[in-house]
């Protein structure tokens, strides 16, 4: 794609509103999926499109499109006219300085340079590892990569060209014993090249082993437990239970929630620090500029047990009198950006897993994630499995383990934070406002939480 600045400048030239921006994205995608021994889907896609946004007198309008031609100037005018016709609201947007930048992906990381044969061979190899394991009845293994280039221009004179790369794979093994069918899955994803996906055999072998073990596992009994949470599920907790609450788009319109999330409010132990950081090299949720052209940043959400910051787009930052944090993200050119997380994690502290096991008389060691959801204060998320812990020892494998509760109470019940931070990416992502899956990273060390409600039979 050539330098689009003259074209984008022309598109916005007919708009006299207080603020406008345009974002054009061009991307290529490759996907391969096996189900069992057979290749199920293989395909390549080319996407090209964009989005125009206009802000005037406190109101937003936007239009996305994928026909890129001279008519866009008319579309920009139409959006501006409809926004300017709305009743004014007492809101402003603040300003960002003019800027020109170009962010390129290293050529060695460009997945378009890797032959389709190699991508096919890699995911088939991982899928075959699962299939060769006795007791595994079927599998789902998927590979995906994408390479994109975005050109952004705002009426403030910020012009940003930014390339991005996402690669990843996921594997799921299904094991059956009589009528008991259990599955286990794991995935890996980075903002790095194809090479980061190779040599992952140990992870794949573990998927098959856990699926087989789960067939023999018993359903957990419902009740309250002290739980040790592994880094993946603790990362899901940081993202789902607290990260979403820190997204300021909603908070900025709700006084009560603003009060609850006020900087300085105490919700956790002194050891607890939760961070969202879009600048981490190579992680799944990393980027240089967000989709409003704001630099990505490291934002402490909780520091030493107290609320320390919020995640913002430009409007929520202005509303709350804080700085934009570079968290305005759109899942594709079809959407205007909204406040989203990048890489969200709990900072490591001093304890190790043995310390935590020693501190549990009767509890659970819960591992892996089947996803999670929140409705602000309420959260629920499901583990892939758990060990029953009795007198500090892992005794029996359990399944159907779902944790739920109130996030503020649960944060206060964190008793120990481990020293072994792991970051996760994966193939999927986060969903919000109809925009999914948005690539995000998450992580944590092991943590011990007292008195968690576990759903079960």
């Amino acid at each position: 794609m050539d330098n689009l600045k003259p074209f984008l400048t022309d598109v916005l030239s007919g708009v006299a509103s207080q603020y406008a921006d345009i974002r054009i994205e061009e991307s290529e995608y490759t996907g391969i999926a096996f189900r069992g021994p057979e290749l199920d889907q293989i395909g390549r896609s080319f996407e090209r499109g964009g989005c125009i946004r206009v802000f005037h007198n406190g109101n937003w309008g936007s239009a996305s499109f994928n026909q890129i031609d001279g008519k866009l100037k008319d579309l920009a005018r139409e959006v501006a006219a409809s926004v300017e016709a709305l009743p004014p609201r007492p809101e402003t947007l603040g300003t960002l300085p003019a800027l020109s930048d170009n962010v390129a992906v290293p050529e060695a990381d460009d997945p378009r340079k890797v032959p389709l044969e190699e991508k096919h061979a890699l995911i088939k190899h991982y899928n075959d590892i699962l299939l060769k394991t006795a007791g595994i009845t079927t599998t789902v293994s998927a590979y995906a990569d994408s390479f994109g280039k975005t050109s952004f221009l705002s009426s403030e004179g910020r012009f940003i060209e930014q390339e991005s790369v996402h690669t990843g794979f996921s594997c799921r093994a299904v094991a059956r014993d009589g009528t008991t069918v259990q599955d286990y899955s794991d995935s890996f994803g980075k903002t790095q090249g194809f090479a980061s996906l190779t040599n992952r055999e140990p992870m794949v072998e573990r998927i098959a082993k856990v699926a087989l073990d789960l067939v023999k596992a018993e359903p957990v009994s419902a009740g309250k437990y002290d739980v040790i949470i592994d880094p993946l599920l603790a990362g899901v907790f940081a993202h789902e239970a607290f990260g979403h609450l820190s997204e300021a788009d909603f908070m900025s319109t709700n006084e009560r929630l603003r009060e609850l999330m006020k900087v300085g409010a105490r919700y956790g132990v002194d050891d607890l620090t939760i961070v969202d950081d879009g600048t981490m090299p190579g992680e799944r949720g990393s980027f240089r500029y967000d989709d409003e052209g704001t630099e990505s940043d490291r934002t402490e959400l909780i520091k030493d047990g107290r609320i320390a910051g919020h995640l913002h787009d430009r409007q929520s930052a202005q509303r709350m009198g804080e700085q934009p944090t570079g968290n305005a993200r759109a899942v594709s050119y079809s959407f205007a950006p909204i406040v989203r997380m990048s890489n969200t994690y709990i900072e490591p502290r001093a304890y190790n897993i043995e310390d935590m096991l020693d501190a549990v008389e009767h509890g659970l060691y819960v591992c892996g994630s089947r996803g999670g959801m929140t409705e602000l204060e309420s959260f629920t998320f499901s583990a892939q499995y758990a060990w029953l812990v009795e007198h500090g020892r892992q005794t029996r494998l359990l399944r159907n383990v779902t944790l739920s509760g109130n996030v503020f109470e649960t944060l206060k019940n964190i008793a120990m934070i481990g020293d072994d931070l792991v970051m996760f990416g994966g193939l999927g992502g986060c969903g919000k406002g109809g925009q999914a899956p948005l690539p995000v990273g998450l992580g944590a060390p092991h943590i011990l939480i007292r008195n968690v409600v576990i759903g079960g039979r």
Binding site: S62, P87, F335
Partner: protein, 433 residues
């Protein structure tokens, strides 16, 4: 454009199918009682499926300048593609179904904003401390399926939907969701929507405690969707093909309570998923999945049907960047004979569930669910006695639907789901109380 793509692919010795969609979406949004934004989204693109040397390849593009690359990508992937067991269908007569009303197509965005404001004002007058988000979205979509067997089928659909979510802060945060399908062209029933939101805001004013135990539980229509989902996943032909559905070899067996009849109906007038044909050009139809508790069959697209020795049920769904997959269109859970008030009156102590979070996180294929009841109320002697917080209902939906106390006599249109309430005689509820 489709002719150019098809002939390019055919010239390279492939059978081919082009699916295209041209979508015009208008969305107006209110957040926390205030107008928030007006968005339009225009999206057009092509998906190309080829069969070359007996193998399936696929490419897609939204870039009209990349026809050559699109055909090349589809042919490149066909080298590794799955063996093709089906043939592209030729032209067929399709049933008629109402999929748009001109009032919806012509509706100006300013009218959608006016409706949103009326609803915000109506709710604010009833529940002063409630903050309402409203989204009104219209999608007009033209779909084309053309293939090398001579099919060239076009259809249009206009869908207009209103979603509202209210937030009340009272001993924690309480969410109240409402929905109305406006695709038939009638304006929204603002008063009725506001009344329902007000009723639930009143229910939530007091906090109730429910000890962990087994209780009668009444799921309102919106909450029933969480329980239907795993069964619909099980009835998907893809999971028969892969040998992972718990419904394999169960056709003709009574698996659920006789009060339960579930059908997939792609021909429901103004259904948000209705159309004369599916995403492969196969006529849509009504397919019964469970008839009075007896499992009657799976949903298929062309490929899964061929793999299972069955015929497509016209259940292929897709957007242009993806290959077709079997799936539901509009799901109908048949109404029973129970009135809501009577069912409630029968509960001495139990739980009334409006909304859950956490659907789809368990072993869905096996039918397991673990639902965090985000909007649930304790029932004492047939009356709502306050909000229950942090309750979890975990179990297996096949077990749950085997014993149903009552099914409601009124079906709610929830957009691709037409569902009454369902009451279960005894479910395990875990709480912190």
């Amino acid at each position: 454009m489709e002719d150019e793509i098809l002939s390019l692919a055919q010239a390279r010795g492939a059978q081919a199918e082009v699916f295209s969609s041209d979508e015009n979406r208008t969305v107006v949004a209110f957040e926390a009682n205030e107008f928030h934004s007006q968005e339009s989204r225009l999206a057009r693109g092509y998906g190309l499926r080829v069969v070359k040397d007996g193998r399936v390849g696929f490419g897609s593009s939204s870039d009209p300048n990349k026809v050559g690359e699109l055909v090349q990508a589809a042919l490149d992937t066909a080298v590794f593609g799955k063996r093709c067991g089906f043939e592209f269908p030729g032209p067929v007569q399709c049933p008629t179904v109402k999929t748009f009303d001109n009032r919806v197509i012509m509706l100006p965005a300013s009218k959608m904003i006016e409706w949103g404001r009326e609803l915000v004002d109506a709710v604010r007058a009833r529940v002063p401390n409630l903050k309402l988000d409203v989204t009104i979205a219209r999608v007009y979509r033209e779909t084309l399926v053309a293939n090398s067997a001579g099919l060239n089928a076009r259809s249009s659909r206009a869908v207009l939907q209103l979603r509202a979510t209210g937030l009340v802060v009272h001993e924690g945060l309480i969410w109240i969701s409402e929905y109305e399908n406006l695709s038939s062209g009638a304006p929204p029933a603002i008063g009725a929507l506001a009344d329902r939101i007000e009723e639930r805001a009143q229910f939530a004013r007091t906090r109730a405690r429910l000890a962990t135990g087994t209780y009668p539980v009444l799921f309102t229509p919106m909450a029933v969707l969480n329980l239907l989902q795993p069964i619909l996943v099980g009835a998907n032909g893809k999971h028969l093909e892969k040998g992972v559905s718990p419904l394999i070899d169960k056709a003709g067996q009574k698996l659920l309570d006789e009060k339960i009849t579930i059908a997939d109906n792609g021909l429901r007038d103004f259904g948000v998923a209705s159309g004369p044909f599916d995403a492969e050009g196969v006529p849509r139809r009504r397919t019964v999945l469970f008839d009075r508790g007896v499992f009657t069959g799976f949903l298929f697209d062309l490929a899964t049907a061929a793999a299972c020795g069955a015929k497509s049920t016209g259940s292929a769904g897709r957007n242009y960047p993806a290959q077709p997959q079997p799936g539901t269109s509009n799901v109908e859970l048949a109404p029973g004979d129970a009135r809501f008030e009577d069912a409630l009156a029968d509960i001495r102590e139990g739980l009334l569930v409006y909304e859950c979070i956490g659907g789809g996180q368990s072993n869905v294929l096996a039918g397991d669910v673990a639902l965090n009841v985000s909007s649930g109320f304790r029932i004492v002697n047939g009356k709502v006695a306050g909000r229950v917080k942090d309750a979890v209902i975990a179990g297996n939906v096949y077990d749950m639907f085997r014993n149903v106390a009552a099914v409601g006599d009124t079906v709610r249109d929830l957009g691709a789901y037409y569902v009454p309430f369902v009451m279960f005689p005894g479910l395990k509820v875990a709480t912190r109380d």
